[in-house]
């Protein structure tokens, strides 16, 4: 084996030299915003460019792009050239836009591949990117039965290699997504919802749904890659293709940047796409540098080695005093408690779960966690039209009620001792992941608060992957502090609270909730939908299955030289929605 090793090393070294000469390139979803002076530009494309820096604003070329306060505050590009380096917490993964979903690596493909439509960071509404308009029943884009969606494609859009983007590209990619041989985490949802995607003509693509799914436009839009490249590989080979691994000749889309190369295994270098349909981006390169944590990000920002990174909320003060710009914004990531509903666990009793909710002071938990967050009673993203705080029941600290519920469930105190039932003390095993300092503190505060009720709470920590296995397979827990990622359409509830749903980890099942969720996703009218989902939230809140404590707040720190960065937490991947108009002053 020793000699085999030696051979491998020699061969490997040759490969390294080849790899070091390899250049590649990627671009990502960059949506350029409007720079109108009054901020009131509509979707008509009649926007006048701001004249601040004298350079043209990209907006005029991109009619229909989002407008409103953040977009209106964009500056005209004051300087061209320069490279942006973003500190990025996860190591590099695949660049295949069809494979995203399990890991937040999608950040890196956001500026390479555009979607047909995307979420407007100003208001959470949809706006067209590669399409000319968002299909609605009014504009004829959605059929009367709600099953056919027609997208007209933006004319003149080119792939980064200069070839035209057509409806064929869209149809081919959705065909791949539906194929189980393509290693994509989206396949079951695509097959569950979409019957066919056809290119009616080069500028028109038609989606035929299997049933009415009103959240389809929010949840089933993926970054589009060229058919010419994707069709070079069989579906099962796509994941390991040069396209997915990063190849300057293959890894590109219609976005403002395209793949150039991977340096040293942890630096992804993208270069600008001069063919970008909103005009040539100002930055020469967009670089992702893998960094270890917030501390590292802060140090690298201060020394000027990176220009942009996510930092811990507790580091915001330090970043400000170091002269960095910071943005704090609530996100679609929530902090939740997952209760074990199995009857063999103490939490299997609904009254115990309700008592634990009444015995919890959320404000104190949030303060103790040291993290910013927006407390909520509901289960739907704060950014969603269907969000409401008016949920019944809502759980606010009420120790008497908690004690009463526990007594009803048979848990009684003998003297000053802990609560007991049939001679057994009330023991609760609370779990969370050890690599998340906020959640560790949440667990510690809950331990104290529930101890006041007379419960013996043990806090258990393990790494993220092990914890996932615990609550998805072994079921060996009472309560888990975990995070959830939400889509801003209220149908988001279906993936967590519908019977047998993909992320319904505690096998919660309530037929009335199921019926309401089915009704909600088949209803078009927003006000009616909101009422339906509010009813569903009331039921789930009474059952106490996976309550949301708060929506997390993210802090992004940027170098003061970097302009036009408007982070927002409206979806996983829209912090770089206008990367094409970012620029660095000299």
């Amino acid at each position: 084996m020793e000699s085999t090793m030696a051979n491998t090393r020699t061969r490997g070294r040759g490969r390294w030299f080849r790899a070091s000469t390899l250049l590649g390139l990627i671009a990502a979803l960059g949506v350029t915003a409007c720079g109108s002076n009054d901020g009131s530009a509509g979707n008509g494309g009649s926007t006048t460019a701001a004249t601040g820096g004298g350079a043209p604003v990209l907006t005029a070329k991109c009619p229909g792009f989002p407008s409103g306060p953040p977009a209106a505050s964009l500056e005209a590009i004051g300087n061209r050239g320069g490279d942006l380096v973003e500190g990025h917490p996860t190591p590099l993964e695949t660049l295949n836009p069809l494979a995203g979903g399990f890991e937040p690596w999608v950040y890196s493909t956001e500026v390479i591949f555009d979607k047909l439509i995307d979420v407007n960071p100003n208001n959470g509404l949809l706006y067209p990117v590669l399409a000319t308009q968002v299909p609605t029943p009014e504009n004829g884009g959605v059929s009367k039965d709600g099953l056919t969606y027609t997208f007209k494609l933006r004319p003149g859009v080119k792939w980064a290699d200069g070839t035209p983007f057509t409806a064929e590209d869209v149809a081919y990619e959705y065909g791949l997504l539906a194929n189980p041989k393509t290693a994509s985490p989206f396949t079951s949802q695509v097959n569950d919802r979409i019957a066919s995607v056809t290119a009616k003509d080069p500028q028109t693509v038609v989606f035929q749904l299997k049933r009415v799914v009103t959240s389809f436009l929010y949840q089933n839009m993926y970054g589009i890659a060229p058919k010419e490249i994707l069709s070079k590989y069989s579906p099962s080979k796509l994941a390991s293709s040069p396209f997915a691994k990063g190849d300057p000749a293959e890894t590109f889309g219609t976005g403002p940047f395209r793949f150039e190369k991977i340096q040293g295994g942890n630096t992804l270098i993208l270069k600008k796409n001069p063919n970008y349909f909103c005009g040539e981006p100002a930055l020469d390169h967009y670089v992702y540098q893998a960094t270890s944590d917030s501390t590292a990000n802060l140090q690298l920002l201060q020394s000027g080695q990176i220009n942009l990174a996510l930092i811990a909320t507790t580091d915001e003060g330090a970043a400000k005093s170091a002269g960095l710009k910071t943005f704090s914004y609530s996100t679609v990531f929530s902090t939740n408690l997952l209760f074990n509903l199995d009857a063999s666990h103490v939490t299997g009793d609904q009254k115990v779960r309700q008592a634990l909710m009444y015995g919890m002071d959320r404000k104190e938990v949030l303060a103790g966690a040291g993290g910013d967050g927006e407390l909520t009673n509901g289960l739907i993203s704060i950014k969603s039209f269907a969000h409401t705080e008016d949920i019944n029941p809502t759980y606010t600290l009420d120790l008497d009620k908690a004690q009463q519920l526990l007594a009803e469930a048979g848990w009684k105190r003998s003297g000053n001792g802990p609560l007991e039932k049939d001679g057994q003390p009330l023991r609760i095993a609370l779990w969370t992941n050890s690599d998340n300092p906020t959640r560790k503190r949440v667990a510690a505060v809950l331990q104290q608060q529930w101890a006041r009720l007379g419960a013996q709470v043990s806090v258990n920590l393990e790494d993220f992957a092990s914890l996932g296995q615990r609550y998805q397979s072994s079921g060996n827990y009472d309560v888990v502090v975990l995070g959830l990622y939400h889509s801003i359409d209220p149908d988001d509830m279906s993936q967590f609270y519908a019977t047998k749903a993909g992320q319904n980890f505690n096998h919660y099942s309530n037929p009335r909730v199921d019926a309401l969720l089915r009704e909600g996703v088949g209803t078009g009218d927003s006000a009616k939908r909101k009422a339906i989902y509010t009813q569903a939230q009331d039921l789930v809140a009474a059952d106490v299955t996976m309550p949301t404590l708060w929506f997390n707040v993210n802090v992004r720190a940027i170098s003061p030289r970097l302009h036009n960065v408007i982070p927002n937490g409206i979806a996983l991947d829209v912090n770089r929605w206008n990367a094409g108009s970012w620029w660095i002053s000299k």
């Binding site: 084996m1 085999t4 051979n7 490997g12 070294r13 490969r15 390294w16 790899a19 070091s20 490279d83 590099l92 993964e93 695949t94 995203g100 979903g101 399990f102 890991e103 937040p104 999608v106 189980p180 041989k181 290693a183 994509s184 985490p185 396949t187 079951s188 949802q189 994941a239 390991s240 997915a244 691994k245 340096q263 295994g265 942890n266 630096t267 390169h285 670089v287 540098q289 893998a290 960094t291 270890s292 590292a296 140090q299 690298l300 020394s303 080695q305 993220f464 992957a465 914890l467 996932g468 296995q469 615990r470 998805q472 995070g483 990622y485 993936q495 993909g502 992320q503 996983l572 991947d573």
Partner: protein, 316 residues
């Protein structure tokens, strides 16, 4: 000599088989999987996770997977990363130069500190200078690497701006001197505990050698102190040191695991760490085989180098 080396290398085969089987079992026994439904990311439910696990072959029993892996390894194929879909050989080899540069630099720094300090302490045996060096080496061994790294970054990078806070080199247009500047803080961080350990070895070896007859004779001949120390005393003290350097070889890679993470450098250490956290089994196994071979090589060098350095030492 040749027979000795060959037999040592052959003995390494069962050793490596045992190590790989053990690590393969351990990493698979740890709960978690490279693909699991992740509530903190878009898309991807339990059913999709199961399908993707089957596509990666993770539904096979552990021993089947081990022998498939071993079979590929015999053909020189280390497998493919679950995360990047690059070959494991590619992943290791692209990071190797960085880690080798770091190991070499920390070796040089550690030796440059340890040899003069150890010799100096031995010459000033039991005097205050000796006590300072001895005490300093205890501190050096005791300081945790990740803490030293963070203090260095705070002091020399963010406060004084003498060195970069992390990374490998400027991303565009890096010159050799740029790379060297990025190397200084991590190399010193790894070198400190090693230097502290080696200083004590050098000191105790020199203490054994200094009272010997040939040193006294050399002094009696009227040779200057420098020649006595370097040509007569140190030459005889260095053999165990060479062994020590050989045995320390894996330490450079172990140190890299921590230091590359703290300093955001790319390298084998960081690769191993990320792969273990992400349950990227093929990459973890590749790194284990790589470092395992280094341990074998280091032990071999520790035995063979003294023989090469001093013909009177015979092995075999």
């Amino acid at each position: 000599m040749r027979r000795y080396v060959i037999s040592r290398v052959l003995w390494a085969i069962p050793l490596m088989l045992g190590v790989t089987a053990l690590v393969f079992v351990l990493i698979n026994v740890i709960p978690g999987s490279p693909v699991q439904a992740n509530p903190e990311a878009a898309g991807g439910g339990v059913a999709d996770a199961q399908r993707l696990r089957e596509l990666l072959g993770l539904d096979q029993p552990i021993w089947t997977r081990y022998f498939i892996w071993l079979g590929s390894l015999v053909h020189g194929d280390f497998g493919t990363s679950f995360r990047t879909h690059q070959s494991v050989t590619h992943e290791i080899v692209t990071r190797l130069p960085n880690t080798l540069a770091l190991a070499l630099a920390s070796f040089v720094v550690a030796a440059l500190i340890a040899i003069p300090m150890g010799a100096y302490a031995a010459m000033r045996f039991n005097r205050p200078e000796d006590r300072v060096v001895t005490f300093g080496s205890i501190i050096g061994v005791s300081l945790p690497t990740f803490w030293v790294g963070l203090v260095f970054i705070l002091l020399f990078a963010t406060k004084l701006h003498w060195f970069p806070a992390g990374g490998d080199a400027p991303i565009f247009g890096a010159t050799l001197s740029d790379r060297a500047r990025f190397l200084v803080l991590p190399a010193v961080t790894i070198a400190i505990p090693l230097a502290a350990e080696w200083t004590r070895y050098v000191r105790s070896r020199m203490l054994e050698v200094l009272p010997s007859d040939y040193v006294r004779s050399a002094r009696a001949k009227g040779l200057n102190e420098r020649t006595v120390l370097l040509k007569h005393a140190f030459r005889n003290a260095r053999l165990p040191l060479i062994q020590l350097f050989g045995l320390s070889l894996p330490n450079f890679f172990a140190g890299a695991l921590m230091v590359e993470t703290v300093f955001n450098r790319s390298g084998i250490g960081r690769l191993t760490y990320d792969a273990a956290v992400g349950r990227d089994y093929p990459v973890v196994m590749g790194c284990v085989v790589f470092v395992g071979c280094l341990v074998v090589l280091g032990n071999l060098l520790a035995d063979v180098l003294p023989a090469a350095s001093a013909p009177r030492v015979r092995v075999g």
